[in-house]
Every structure is written in structure tokens, then in C-alpha cells.
């Protein structure tokens, strides 16, 4: 069964609901990066909007936009990944618990603080009664959602799936993670600094990416999904073993990986894993990155898939996606998207045109 990414949409620090970032990207200059938002009234009625936090509005907007671009009115499944769910509402509710001495607690932030709020809100908006699920597996939340959709498409249980990665960064959560050394200083948040080794921390971003997956090819199709897998690994050697098994399974003979889309973020510990992986497994491939355009978040890997899909559709790699100098022959037939979370959870997704 062939599986395709029919359409995609994103909200991030880049121009929202647009692929303008391929030509003129907005580059980070500070560590805390707020997403640029579209006019939500295009997608959400004011009466619906009043109970939605920012993440829900973003998720609904990108979902409806992806469905519209893909010419699909009703997906068979809605599958989301989120590391923290609607954390803005969680904060509101927990602050109310403290401020009101555990009494007089507002119901709306409580209802919206659950992780599955996003998937269910999209289903309510579409009146979609199909399969609905949310994965909350830290840095592989989106990858898990994608894998679920791919497996269900493979066995023919569904023919379309709306798959998304949604997370938000609030100032309070940013501050907390900052104390744990997650972020760079503003002075070291530009792209040149992100490439410098020896510094911990990256730049933040929210996540709102929706992909429409389907089992049929159309002229608007972005790319084909050749394979997607997730592993728990204990060492680089295990990671490499899985990679070679993966390419044997999904890459046709006499073919090679043209480009590797890595979750390089500027954090030295995070980036060292990708560098070692590329060095040992796919030295011949171009190394691409995307977190300098979309920031770091639990569902940032959704932007990796999205970016690779857009590149394959366009058949051109924009210069600002190259982490290292490009190979002389810049042909891109396939892209391997690699993601890891804290060196243990590791996902591989092979896309081709």
C-alpha cells in the first residue's frame, strides 16, 4: 500500500500557513520565539473561539488549511502528537488552584488542559466521528502519531488521516526550562551561533503542523512515505544497526539516501548524536536542518517531515537548509528524516518523490 503526504500546513515563527520560508526565511535572533498567527476568524467562529486557547486555535487553523489544500473534507482519522497538550490552560487552572485556595476553580481551563483536547476539538469542528487519538511521548509524540497513521493506512483500515504535531511554549514554561539549561542566551541565538559547537541550549518554538496522509497520488501530492519507524536505543551502535536494517527494508537496491534532515538545534549534546550518526551511517548524503527556522519543541520533528515534504515537492533544496556545504550534485529524490529525543528515542522516516 502506497502512502503519500497530500498536503501540509504550519504555524511557527515563519509566515503562517505558507511556504514563504523556502524563499525568504525568518531567522531567530532571540531564544524565545513566538509563532506568527494568521487571522483565526477565517477558520473559527467567534462563539467557538472564546473557549479556545492559542494552541487550539493554531491546531484548528493548520488542520483546516491542510484539508483544504489536500482537497479533503473529512479525514478517516485524526491523530495528534503533543508533548504537553494545552499547557497555557494547564497553567491557568493550576494558578487558579493556588490563587483560590483550591476552591472556585474555573471549568474551561480544566477541560482544555487535557492532552487529547486538540484532537477532539478538530473532530468537533469537522464533525468527524472516525478514529481519534493523541500520542504524548515527549520528543517522539509526533513520530508516534505519524507511525499510527502509516500503519493504519498500510493495512487499509483508513484511506486518509490528518496527522499533527502541536505544542506551545508559554513564558512561564520557557523560564522553567531555561533554568535547566534548555535555551541559549539571546546573544547566542542567531544561526551562525547555533552552528558553533561547545554551547548547550537551543532556541524555542511552538509547534502547529498538520499533514494530510492518503493512499492515493494526486498532482498536488507532496511526497511518498517509504517507511517510518521508532526505536528505543541505548547506544550509537544500536542506532546504526537500526538504520542499516531500515534502509535494507525501505530503500530500493542500488539507491542511496540523498539527504538527511536532522533535528540539529544548536545544543551540543543533541547535535553530537546527529553528527556521529551521519558520520557512521550516511556520509554521502547532504545534511539538512530545520530547527533554526522553527525552533525546538517536543513536536519539532513534525517540522522536519513538513520541511522534507516541501523540498521533495519543489525538487530543490533552499540554501538555508544546508547544515554543511552541499554536495556538487544537488539532486534530491529522497530524504531521510532523523529524530532523537535525549539520545534514547530515535525515529527514522524515509520520504521520496
Amino acid at each position: 500500500m502506497s502512502i503519500y503526504i497530500q498536503s501540509a500546513s504550519q504555524i511557527s515563527m515563519q509566515e503562517p500557513l505558507s511556504e514563504q520560508w523556502m524563499k525568504s526565511p525568518i531567522l531567530p535572533t532571540v531564544a524565545f520565539n513566538s509563532p506568527l498567527e494568521p487571522d483565526f476568524k477565517r477558520f473559527i467562529l467567534p462563539a467557538e473561539s472564546r473557549r479556545m486557547g492559542r494552541l487550539l486555535k493554531r491546531a484548528v487553523a493548520v488542520s483546516l488549511d491542510a484539508l483544504q489544500k489536500g482537497g479533503c473534507e473529512m479525514p478517516d482519522a485524526i491523530i495528534s502528537g503533543t508533548g504537553l497538550g494545552c499547557v497555557e490552560n494547564t497553567e491557568k487552572f493550576l494558578n487558579a488552584v493556588i490563587d483560590n485556595d483550591e476552591e472556585c476553580l474555573p471549568p474551561t481551563p480544566f477541560m482544555q488542559s487535557t492532552h487529547n483536547t486538540v484532537s477532539s476539538q478538530i473532530a468537533l469542528k469537522l464533525q468527524c466521528h472516525g478514529y481519534n487519538s493523541t500520542y504524548s511521548h515527549r520528543g517522539t509524540s509526533f513520530d508516534s502519531a505519524l507511525l499510527d497513521a502509516v500503519m493504519q493506512l498500510q493495512v487499509g483500515r483508513i484511506s486518509t488521516a490528518l496527522v499533527g504535531g502541536y505544542d506551545e511554549m508559554t513564558p512561564a514554561y520557557f523560564k522553567m526550562l531555561g533554568k535547566l539549561g534548555y535555551w541559549r542566551s539571546d546573544a547566542e541565538s542567531d544561526v551562525d551561533s547555533l552552528k558553533k559547537s561547545g554551547i548547550n541550549g537551543s532556541v524555542s518554538g511552538g509547534s502547529a503542523v498538520s499533514l494530510l496522509l492518503a493512499n492515493s497520488f494526486t498532482e498536488n501530492t507532496l511526497c511518498h512515505i517509504d517507511g517510518a519507524e521508532i526505536y528505543s536505543v541505548a547506544s550509537l551502535q544500536e542506532m546504526c544497526d537500526f538504520y542499516f536494517e531500515f534502509v535494507q527494508k525501505y530503500l530500493s537496491q542500488n539507491n542511496h539516501v540523498d539527504a538527511v534532515m536532522c533535528g540539529l538545534s544548536g545544543d551540543q549534546e543533541n547535535d553530537a548524536v546527529y553528527r556521529r550518526f551521519v558520520q557512521q551511517c550516511c556520509q554521502e548524503a547532504d545534511v539538512l536542518w530545520y530547527k533554526h527556522l522553527f525552533g525546538e519543541s517536543f513536536c519539532a520533528s513534525a517540522y522536519g517531515i513538513y520541511t522534507a515534504a516541501c523540498v521533495l515537492k519543489d525538487q530543490k533544496i533552499p540554501p538555508h537548509l544546508f547544515y554543511q556545504s552541499p554536495r556538487e550534485v544537488n539532486v534530491v529524490k529522497n530524504i531521510l528524516v532523523v529524530n532523537h529525543f535525549q539520545k534514547s528515542d530515535f525515529s527514522l522516516t524515509l520520504l521520496s518523490r
Partner: protein
């Protein structure tokens, strides 16, 4: 009473997140549920919380809400009679 009605309208707009509405847009005699503002059961919960938090009124009987939440004016009259803060 008129001052309390204005205060209540502002609080309702804030707690129910009625975007793009001002106190002047709310008719204090119009029904809060169904017609008028068109509020629903979750809003009713929010209003119960508002009354307890801001005015110290605990509704013991849920059926009382039907009467109290008839309109902003009826709600304000009830608050004036029963408020503890």
C-alpha cells in the same frame, strides 16, 4: 444597582471570554441562555464560580440557577441580596 450591573457585565465578558463585546453590547434584561447571549451549560458553571469567587455566594440548589441566571439584571438583584463580600 446600575453600578453592580455594569460591574457584572464586565466580569461576565472577562470570565466567558466574550471577545469583541463591551458592556454596552449586553442587554441587562435579555436572557443569558438560549436567546440573548446564547450561553450554554459550561458558561453556567463559569457563572456559578464567578458568584462564589467574587461575591461569596454558594448556590446550594442547582435549580436555583435557572431563576438567577435569567438575565444580568436578575443576577445582579440576587447578588445584591445575598452577597457576603
Amino acid at each position: 444597582m446600575e453600578q453592580l450591573i455594569e460591574e457584572l457585565k464586565r466580569e461576565i465578558i472577562e470570565v466567558l471570554n466574550l471577545e469583541d463585546m463591551t458592556p454596552a453590547d449586553i442587554d441587562e434584561n435579555a436572557p443569558l441562555f438560549g436567546e440573548g447571549l446564547g450561553l450554554d451549560s459550561i458558561d453556567a458553571l463559569e457563572l456559578i464560580v464567578l458568584m462564589e469567587k467574587n461575591y461569596g455566594i454558594k448556590l446550594q440548589n442547582a435549580n436555583e440557577g435557572k431563576e438567577i441566571f435569567k438575565s444580568v439584571r436578575v443576577m445582579a438583584e440576587y447578588i445584591q441580596q445575598h452577597r457576603t463580600k
